[in-house]
């Protein structure tokens, strides 16, 4: 039974970068990007976990200059589309131009779900550089569907080619996904995608829920490597989509081999839903906070769950990694 074509974005070399504390080497990126390309992955994302210019004290320093990593990926990708992520406020138009010069063909411009208007210049620049441009709404669980729709339409008005609803905290239940993705699909005239995190162990189920209501783009990573409890495990997702009857153009054995032979040996730890990553989803906290929270918990002698719960109460958004230290300091003083 044919259910139509689904476009897959592999972000092992971007979201997965969080899980290896941004320590990817040129050799690793070349090997994984080449493997993903040969397996038939359409979009291959390479950047610091927090996007272009994310290398910092706040988010963690990259072991290798990301432009070297983007160039390495560009050299081995034959059919896929080399993609980068840019978060306005962290990366700039100058960073985007340099990434394009290194070979990036598409950019996902990511903002908090209510702040799309900070991305207008970046989307327009991407289009004038001839790149594909995605508007990527992070932490979508924090806004009601009407708000997500309003912000998606802003992205569309700036010239974005695609919209993503991102569950950056891995906090959504399948009904939350259906409500938001479905509303955006109805409201915009461009394709819609969904980016999941597995904090509540729902990444694959939520991805299927997004497809049910009309999404045609999905994200995943090999072995689920990513921030928090990780992303949708792409090799498993390809298999599941095959079973449902969707076309992905990806060779199942080849993507399984990339995951097992190339990515698994690079992992710093198994991508398991331990207590703290589960709490990210439960408290609705940005997934990239995980490793920073472990470090703060150790330094201030606290339970990481208490820090995450407080961050959730304070409604901290993506990029506010600095507030982990603030919360830990205030909790330790009590």
């Amino acid at each position: 039974m044919s259910m139509g074509k689904i476009h897959l974005v592999d972000t092992t070399l971007r979201d997965g970068s969080h899980a290896v504390s941004h320590q990817y080497s040129v050799e690793q990126v070349a090997a994984v990007a080449g493997g993903l390309d040969a397996a038939g992955i359409e979009y291959i994302e390479v950047s610091h976990g927090d996007g272009l210019a994310g290398s910092s004290f706040n988010y963690g320093r990259s072991a290798t200059d990301e432009e070297e990593l983007i160039k390495a990926a560009a050299e081995v990708i034959k059919n896929g589309i080399l993609t980068v992520l840019l978060i306005p406020g962290i990366g700039t138009i100058e960073d985007l131009k340099r990434a394009e010069a290194c070979g990036a063909k598409a950019v996902r411009v990511a903002t908090h779900v209510t702040e799309a208007d900070t991305a207008e210049q970046h989307i327009r620049m991407a289009k004038s550089l001839g790149m594909q441009a995605f508007g990527f709404l992070m932490m979508s669980h924090m806004a009601p569907p009407e708000k997500v729709v309003e912000q998606a339409k802003l992205f569309e008005s700036y010239g974005a080619d695609f919209i993503y609803v991102a569950d950056s905290a891995g906090a959504m239940l399948p009904d939350d996904v259906r409500a938001r993705v479905g509303a955006v699909v109805q409201a915009v005239g461009i394709p819609v995608g969904f980016h999941a995190h597995n904090n509540l162990t729902l990444a694959t189920a939520n991805s299927l829920a997004a497809l049910e209501v009309g999404a045609t783009f999905l994200d995943g990573t090999c072995r689920g490597l990513g921030a928090g409890a990780g992303n949708t495990q792409i090799e498993a997702l390809v298999g599941v989509l095959n079973k449902v009857g969707y076309q992905t153009g990806v060779d199942l054995y080849k993507i399984m081999d990339v995951a097992e032979d190339l990515v698994e040996p690079m992992m710093h730890r198994p991508q398991v839903v331990r207590n703290a990553p589960f709490m990210l989803g439960y408290a609705g906290v940005y997934s990239s906070f995980l490793l920073h929270t472990y470090r703060a918990a150790e330094r201030f002698n606290l339970d990481p769950r208490d820090i995450l719960t407080e961050l959730g109460k304070r409604r901290m958004v993506g990029g506010q990694e600095d507030m982990i230290v603030d919360v830990a300091y205030q909790l330790a003083k009590q």
């Binding site: 210019a53 910092s56 004290f57 706040n58 306005p88 406020g89 962290i90 700039t92 138009i93 100058e94 908090h112 209510t114 702040e115 208007d117 900070t118 207008e120 210049q121 304070r314 409604r315 901290m316 958004v317 993506g318 990029g319 506010q320 990694e321 600095d322 507030m323 230290v325 603030d326 300091y329």
Partner: protein
């Protein structure tokens, strides 16, 4: 003998109106004119308060020879046009836009050096909040790298900041180096839409050659006291945490609530800095007048 210097504000938006309220409280500044280019809420409010207003923009300022200091709270493009006109007319411009024609002014760091400049730029709110701390640490510990993260409430970030968010990070980074003295600088801005709105928070990370905890802590505390003289809501939330050569500090800025709400500490710190610089200028001009 003159006891107050007459000033004008161009741009009757949030920043311009907050400036006006602060000028009205000043001992050395006389709120001579608020000018815009259309009838607006800001103009009407000022008029009701008995302030001289105009919708002739910069021309109204040029027509009054008694106005000596001009705050420009419009935008980068209008300021590029205003700057040469004001200079020709012999008026000192305090630029609160991203135009950055004149040198960066961070009062508690370089005020004295700038009193003869025809035009100074007030950097950004994050620059006003963080550059002094970097400067203070650099004096005692030699800063090789400074990185700041400014979190603002979404409500306090106007369309100008949103549409030119790169300018905000680029200008702040430059000021960390040029005024703060760091060898390299990086700035990050995050907008948070939480309700009730969050207070402006600034995290400052520096990498230093000489991580002397005592000297750094004392230098930071002294600078915080200095800034509190013109921004009473400026507070050290997390005092220096030293990890090897890395120092982490978190600052919170609560606004004075003159016109803008208290969560707009980011706007308050830049208007306070601008008025504080103008007061120093005015005192200098008054002294000149006495001597003449």
């Amino acid at each position: 003998m003159v006891d107050k210097i007459k000033v004008a504000v161009i741009g009757p938006g949030n920043i311009g109106t907050d400036l006006m309220f602060k000028i009205l409280k000043s001992q050395h500044l006389e709120m001579g004119l608020l000018t815009g280019i259309v009838e607006s809420e800001g103009i009407q409010r000022a008029r009701k308060m008995g302030i001289n207003t105009s919708i002739e923009g910069v021309n109204a300022v040029l027509q009054d020879p008694d106005i000596k200091i001009v705050f420009d709270a419009t935008g980068a493009k209008p300021h590029l046009r205003h700057a040469p006109l004001l200079k020709e007319a012999g008026k000192i411009a305090i630029d609160l836009t991203p135009a950055s024609i004149g040198p960066y002014c961070v009062p508690c760091v370089n005020l004295e050096e700038l009193l003869d400049e025809p035009n100074v730029n007030m950097v950004t709110c994050a620059g006003q909040a963080t550059v002094p701390i970097v400067y203070a640490i650099n004096k005692v510990a030699s800063v090789t790298y400074a990185e700041i993260v400014a979190s603002l409430s979404s409500k306090s970030a106007g369309p100008g900041t949103r549409q030119n968010i790169d300018e905000f990070t680029e200008t702040t980074s430059k000021a960390l180096v040029q005024v703060g003295g760091a060898k390299r600088g990086k700035a990050i801005i995050v907008l948070n839409p939480a309700e009730p709105p969050v207070m402006m928070a600034n995290t400052i990370y520096v990498e230093v050659e000489n991580p002397d905890e005592k000297a750094i802590t004392a230098a930071v505390q002294m600078m915080v006291n200095e800034i509190q003289k013109y921004v009473p809501g400026y507070r050290l939330r997390v005092p220096p945490i030293i990890d090897g050569h890395k120092v982490t500090i978190i600052i919170q800025v609560e606004g004075a609530g003159d016109f803008l709400p208290k969560y707009s500490g980011n706007l308050d710190i830049i208007t306070s800095a601008a008025v504080s610089f103008a007061e120093k200028l005015a005192q200098k001009l008054i002294r000149k007048d006495v001597i003449a």
